[in-house]
Symmetry: C3
């Protein structure tokens, strides 16, 4: 691809000649004269001089470097767009593979692709440009929008609804029964889980994630929210828009998570809470209370960031405090002996 065309397609300002043809995007270390490379922040700039890359995506503020540069205020976005340009999402499948088992009652758009050994149940709808890669399970009455990509071994249980451009990675299970029981003496009686799951437009769900169907009503993941691998979302949870949930997080039943929230890895959130917009929850935190919008929390149980740091510093200083108290006790005894004895 010609450099001038790359600049135009990724929205960069070209600095230098635009005639050069580039073949791939590579790291500063791996790139050769025919490759495009990238500097995302000032720390990486020191590695730039030694690089053989033919052209560089570069933040606005960094100095030029004796070769063509693609200037961007947001170089990460340029990197994402350049990769998409060199690696167009390949369909991998096209048309309907003869080994797929598709109910005659399903409505599959003629531009959708269904790979080998998929199952599509009665009443399912599959939108334009959507690909089920292979060995996918689509239960009855599932509705999938357009331009979705569903990777091998995904399970969509009955009645699940997906918006457009949703990506589901392998092993994800959407719409399994929520974990709900009534007690009858010492025994547990299953509460049928008859609600559904809705994933809105532009949601991406990682490998082996589990998102349970609601008891009644719906479990909902808002537009643009991204969920990493092995995350657990319990029944009736509501997640807002543009929220990021990192790997191995668990969210218990009926909790509401706001928009633009970040949950770092291995966080646990108990049920029936409200987590406000723009909250950040640090890795491995355990959240057992509501959190108001914009707060940064940390720890298990989670407390505001400043309080966590104070507690942790106090804990680190505890052996010294203990020594000080022991020394003071001896001095106190000495004074008592003098004064009283």
């Amino acid at each position: 691809v010609r450099l001038a065309e790359i600049a135009e397609r990724i929205g960069a300002r070209l600095e230098g000649a635009g005639e050069k043809e580039l073949r791939a995007v590579r790291s500063l270390e791996d790139a050769g004269p025919d490759d495009l490379s990238f500097v995302l922040d000032a720390r990486q700039a020191s590695r730039l001089e030694a690089s053989r890359a033919g052209a560089i995506i570069l933040p606005d503020r960094l100095p030029c470097v004796g070769r063509p540069a693609l200037r961007m205020g947001n170089p990460s976005l340029g990197f994402a767009r350049a990769l998409a340009l060199f690696h167009p999402s390949d369909a991998s499948v096209s048309g309907i593979h003869p080994s797929a088992v598709i109910s005659p009652d399903a409505a599959v758009n003629r531009t959708a692709s269904i790979g080998p050994l998929c199952v599509v149940g009665a009443g399912a709808q599959i939108g334009a440009g959507t690909s089920l890669l292979a060995q996918v399970h689509v239960g009855r009455d599932v509705r999938i929008g357009s331009d979705c990509r569903v990777f091998p071994h995904v399970t969509l249980r009955e009645g699940v609804r997906l918006g457009d451009r949703v990506i589901l990675h392998s092993g994800a299970v959407i719409g399994a029964d929520g974990f709900g029981y009534a007690r009858e003496g010492a025994r547990y009686v299953k509460i049928p889980q008859v609600g559904c799951v809705v994933l809105e437009d532009d949601v991406e769900i990682g490998a082996n994630v589990t998102i349970d169907r609601a008891t009644l009503g719906e479990t909902r993941i808002g537009r643009g929210t991204k969920i990493d691998n092995l995350v657990q979302i319990a029944h009736n949870v509501q997640v807002g828009e543009d929220t990021v949930i990192v790997a191995q997080v668990g969210i218990s039943g009926s909790t509401r998570i706001g928009s633009r929230v970040t949950l770092a890895g291995q966080v646990g959130v108990v049920g029936h809470l409200t987590i406000g917009d723009d909250v950040i929850i640090g890795a491995q935190s355990g959240v057992s209370k509501d959190i108001s919008a914009g707060t940064v929390v940390l720890g298990s149980p989670a407390v505001p960031h400043g309080e966590f740091k104070r507690q942790y510093a106090s804990l680190a200083g505890l052996p010294a405090l203990r020594k000080l108290v022991r020394a003071m006790e001896r001095r106190l005894e000495e004074l008592e002996r003098r004064l009283v004895g």
Copy 2:
């Protein structure tokens, strides 16, 4: 369904006329005049007045509400039964789908159902009324009892045994090799895992759960125990009856968990421990010692509930304690100066 019939079927005492026909079970907010709704505890009662529900499942002690009520001492149980009445578990599959690959040596009861693209190995036995939904893997010599439901993409490795009415959610892997190695210098040599896994009657296993086969002997989950999504049960673990294991818990090898135990989300238990009956382990706890029956523990490392609260309160009060000690030190210095100086 007529209200009088619902009352009889769920074991409630009808208060008001029983002629009304109801169409669905809905939350207080969503229910209309043709729907049954429910109040499970006193906190929900305030939302009752505004509800348009045609009839209500109501705890014995709450006041009546100008419409028919189904009185129960245990309204959650009534709710579970009413949902089951309105949503009979639908088989989804019936008979043997022609795309299933079933060994001629397998014994499949004529009332069992095997959905599309399932594999059933040699020597496997599948009991009356059991459904394998689709894309299930049943290894050789697996024995499945009657009236079980196995959802898509479940894997049952060779020799696994299931009782009756067992439910396995999508992506669960039962009987993978335990994690066992001998050292040979710096390298690890695999210890073959040749035992099995037994799931007793009425066990329910969540999506993407992993329960490993024993090295020798068996890994066993007792009658009526319920396991949530993404839980890890290692080789040779024994779990008692009517125990509840919430999402993302991990239990290490050879540990014994009693009956009627509750393990909250993300708990970790090290190997070779004994956890007594009726123990409750709080979310995210790390258990590294035996726990005697009836104890409530919390924290990582886990300690009895009271001790955890004391430790946590002390930690929260630590900055104040530190200030007090500093002030006392100054007062002590002043006394010393006066007395000695």
Copy 3:
């Protein structure tokens, strides 16, 4: 198998007659006169006398026991080898099952086995003696070495590379997209993940593990490393040789883990760190800093073992310290009253 032959095959020194034929390996409690049993350490020796086992694998230093013994310096290794002798890894499948969907462009060695309902993509290579058990997904251009075993419902995404003797348990997902996005205002734009995953020789991967493909370059798991169930390995992580990663661990992007490292269960490691060789990380630890070779760390945030123990002891002694300070304060007041008042 004759005892003398077992001794020779497992590398043990036979003590007693070697003529006896043995039928199985069983625990001390379950073994009968025709079974081989084992004592792995001195603690188990007390249970030896009551055992009916016909012969025993025994550490060098323990006393003899009135029956033939197989003496080994490393009895665990003898146990592993004896189990392998009595339970030869059974192929379960042989040849190519007619229900498998194999691209005509794939290169499958004639001694490889492909079970029912597997999918093998274009350009894939499958080596000699390798078995895909059933319902496995092999994406395009995947390269699998010789003598690998891939269990049901494993997903290998496009371009993944496996060495020889690799074992992949059910539900493992190798090569799903890494979790990487650029910001565009409040929204997230997917960064295409176009790198790959390499699993070197003798790696074993547990059930429902997720190992993400690199953004660029590769995610790599070194020779002989063993990974337990439900572990998350993010994009561009590098793991050394003979490392052990226990269940439910999560390792964030671009982190480098050394060789012969042990990560106990539920550990979390943040991104872009370097963990040295021979490090041991205790269960549930949260690692947020580099760790130098040979260190043992514990806690969240993780600190060296000795420091963790001091902190924890201080925390446990905190209520007592608080009492002591209160008492000293009263004594101080008394002194002040006398001296000043």
